[in-house]
């Protein structure tokens, strides 16, 4: 059944065996249960045999429990951690290609400073900016620059870690 009520975005981190085909099994669980993956980031952990998949998905009231149980059944999934909430800090990196005109350049430069963005590269009339922060902040950055003419963006999607020492290698 495709669920209709989408309440909030949920961030989940999944520790999996670092092997071919595992991502497709994980993604399959979301697809089969009618959840769309909004963002996805995969990287090795401190243990190269284990990868960490961090993803965000639209959720509904059953989401965390149902998806967690389903993911737990996968042989290659070691652990599922719900990263939503204040105990975790989230960051995202975004590249924004924005057009620059004589009339807008000073305002854009001011915004770059204010949002702590970096100009990664520039060509006549076009800057590539780098923004990092909580996904809410990167969304705000994007929202601000959009009226100036954003031609291309790419976002890593949220990654997240414990604020406190997890007391084990992860």
């Amino acid at each position: 059944m495709l669920r209709k009520v989408r309440e909030q975005e949920q961030t989940i981190s999944i520790l999996v065996n670092n092997q071919p085909g595992v991502l497709s099994r994980v993604a399959g669980v979301f697809g089969r249960h009618g959840y769309n993956i909004q963002s996805l980031c995969v990287a090795e952990t401190t243990n190269p045999e284990i990868s960490r998949i961090t993803l965000t998905s639209e959720s509904d009231p059953d989401f965390t429990e149902k998806i967690k149980k389903q993911l737990d059944k996968l042989v290659d999934v070691q652990e599922v951690i719900d990263l939503t909430g204040p105990a975790y800090m989230q960051r995202e990196l975004m590249l924004i290609g924005v057009t620059i005109q004589q009339e807008t350049i000073s305002e854009i430069m001011r915004a770059i400073q204010m949002f702590n963005c970096r100009i990664v590269t520039m060509s006549p009339g076009y800057y590539i900016l780098e923004a990092t922060g909580h996904p809410d902040e990167t969304a705000a950055v994007l929202g601000y620059f959009q009226p100036f003419g954003v031609k291309e963006i790419n976002r890593t999607g949220a990654i997240a870690v414990n604020r406190k020492n997890p007391q084990r290698q992860m």
């Binding site: 399959g28 149980k69 737990d72 042989v75 070691q78």
Partner: protein, 558 residues
């Protein structure tokens, strides 16, 4: 002879106690088929890979052991898919071995290459493709462990040809398991105490027995519980036979095609202990109105089965045997209560509504006669369609593994190949395959397998010349606009059977059923009995789509 990967495959099969596999060779499987000649494992050559999967499934359901099927790459592997999905839906422990093109050709669209791992991902517990012969033994061992552990199910191992053919040493001792144990988390004793308390305090308790009771080998425990506390029980289709159907506490099958009494009592009870059932839509009918008065406790080894479709007040995740062993001493012995008297009154009322006891008409009577004529130790394998409902509602399953059918997947064509597996697994038991004409056509080639191995399977084809269950739906809910359901009456099934080397006869059930039944029972070896029934012989009562358990209809005009 030098040891090769295929020898490791056979080594692990032997370790696992596998003495039978069902398969079909292809160029890529040949290393295995070649080395099977040196092993005591019997390989049954089916006439279609789908049938190999169903036979392995039937074998596993009849014996409780892991069923193994083997197919080649490409079309061999894809032909297994329906059989694997059937096993997955009914939680049958199965290992499906598929050969694959050599690792150097993977991804190149080589001859008979297919991504069977990708294809079977949603219908297996897990699947493995072996890329190094060093991992072959551990992968095979893990596949068997996984197929049996927790909620059982099919596991697929894809074996590239070069891995099977590569020289290697036989595997060493089995190491410690590295498998993450699913569903093995133990519940606290308090949870069982809570369930016991709720059961003891209830006035109108009911047990729902699902297929998990068979999978967990918990028949004795569930019967002890029923008899100690005088609790009536209903079963899902997969739960039939877990307790002798003749047990006085049996109220029958629940769900859309279930018994009226069973469905009515579910609606009236105040406490349900659901054991090894996932509350499928076929069992519950309209979920919002299922068991409106009941406090529900659910015992299941699969955490995702708990509360998947229905709210559970008292969940218990774990092995059914552990749970019932803990529960039994905490349950009070109860005298026959008002509740049981009320059920008896309901039973009488329900029986009056259906002129013919089972609601299965002439076909039901006929199946009852077949059972009476067969030995007590008979396993029946029902196909899908009206014949399935007639069988599960009429056949009195005495032993836990004596009634086999495709419940969750509803796979037509299941019964003939599955009966081959059941017969091979339990040669001491008589086996009857009951099928309709529609399902029979779907794996009719397996008559050749039955004939070749001279397997004494009694094949009963209930022939109404139609896809009967679909006909009933068109009759009742599509204003009797019949379309695409007429199978005709031109095929002479007895001649077909004879062509495959199997004797048979044809009867019309309203005229002379006994002569045919006697001929079947008295003929040694396989036999085909074609039993002609009226296409207007349906199943009643049934629950129309989108209605609740008590909104049953009893005839065409209801």
């Amino acid at each position: 002879m030098e040891t090769i990967g295929a020898d490791i495959v056979i080594q692990v099969l032997r370790e696992e106690g596998i003495d039978v596999i069902f398969g079909y060779p292809g160029a890529a499987t040949l290393p295995i088929h070649d080395r099977l000649m040196n092993s005591p494992i019997r390989h049954y050559l089916m006439r279609h890979e789908q049938a190999a999967a169903h036979a392995a499934d039937g074998y596993a359901r009849a014996t409780g052991k892991v069923g193994v099927c083997l197919a080649t790459s490409g079309p061999g592997a894809t032909n297994l898919v329906t059989g694997i999905a059937t096993a997955f839906m009914d939680s049958t422990p199965m290992v499906a071995l598929t050969a694959q093109v050599s690792t150097s050709l993977l991804g190149q669209d080589a001859f008979q290459e297919t991504d069977i791992i990708g294809i079977t991902m949603p219908i297996t517990k897990h699947s493995y493709q072996v890329h190094n012969v060093k991992n072959l033994a551990s992968t095979m061992r893990q596949a068997f462990e996984l197929a049996k552990t927790g909620r059982p199910g099919p596991v697929l191992v894809d074996l590239p040809r070069d891995i099977l053919a590569s020289k290697c040493e036989l595997a060493g001792e089995r190491g410690a398991s590295t498998l993450k144990m699913n569903g093995k988390r133990a519940e606290t004793p308090e949870q069982i105490e809570k369930i016991a308390r709720a059961l003891n305090q209830s006035e109108r308790p009911l047990i729902i027995i699902g297929g998990g009771v068979k999978l967990a080998n918990a028949f004795h425990l569930i019967r002890q519980l029923i008899e100690k506390a005088n609790i009536p029980f209903v079963t899902t289709m997969m739960g039939i036979g877990s307790v002798d159907a003749a047990n006085g506490y049996n109220l029958g099958l629940i769900g859309t095609h279930g018994n009226e009494l069973a469905n009515r009592i579910v609606h009236q009870c105040d406490f349900i202990l659901a054991v090894g059932t996932r509350f499928s839509d076929r069992s519950t009918a309209l979920i919002e109105e299922f068991a409106p008065l009941a406090n529900i406790a659910q015992i299941d080894i699969d955490p995702t089965s708990i509360g998947k479709s229905i709210k559970i007040n008292l969940p218990y995740v774990g092995d059914i045997r552990d749970a019932l062993t803990a529960l039994l001493p905490l349950v009070n012995e109860k005298e026959k209560s008002e509740w049981l008297q009320r059920i008896e009154a309901e039973r009488e009322a329900a029986e009056k509504k259906i002129a013919n006891g089972s609601g299965c008409g002439q076909a039901g009577d006929f199946i009852r006669k077949v059972q009476e004529a067969m030995p007590g130790e008979t396993t029946v394998v029902a196909d899908v369609g009206l014949n399935q409902i007639w069988t599960v509602r009429t056949w009195k399953a005495r032993d836990p593994r004596s009634l086999i059918t495709s419940g969750g997947m509803g796979t037509m064509g299941f019964s003939l190949p599955a009966s081959i597996g059941a017969k091979v697994g339990c040669p001491e038991r008589a086996v009857v395959a009951i099928t309709g004409d529609g399902g029979f056509y779907m794996n009719i080639q397996e008559l050749a397998t039955v004939g070749y191995y001279n397997l004494p399977i009694k094949i009963v084809v209930i022939n109404n010349g139609h896809l009967g269950m679909i006909r009933q739906i068109q009759d009742l809910f599509y204003n009797d606009r019949f379309n695409t359901i007429d199978l005709g009456s031109k095929v002479d099934f007895v001649a077909v059977a004879r062509g495959f080397g199997i004797p048979g006869s044809r009867i019309v059930v309203d005229e002379n059923p006994q002569s045919g039944i006697e001929a079947m029972v008295n003929t040694e070896g396989p036999y085909l009995l074609e039993a002609v029934v009226d296409p207007n012989n349906y199943v009643f009562p049934i629950i129309p789509p989108g209605r609740s358990n008590i909104e049953m209809i009893h005839d065409r005009l209801d």
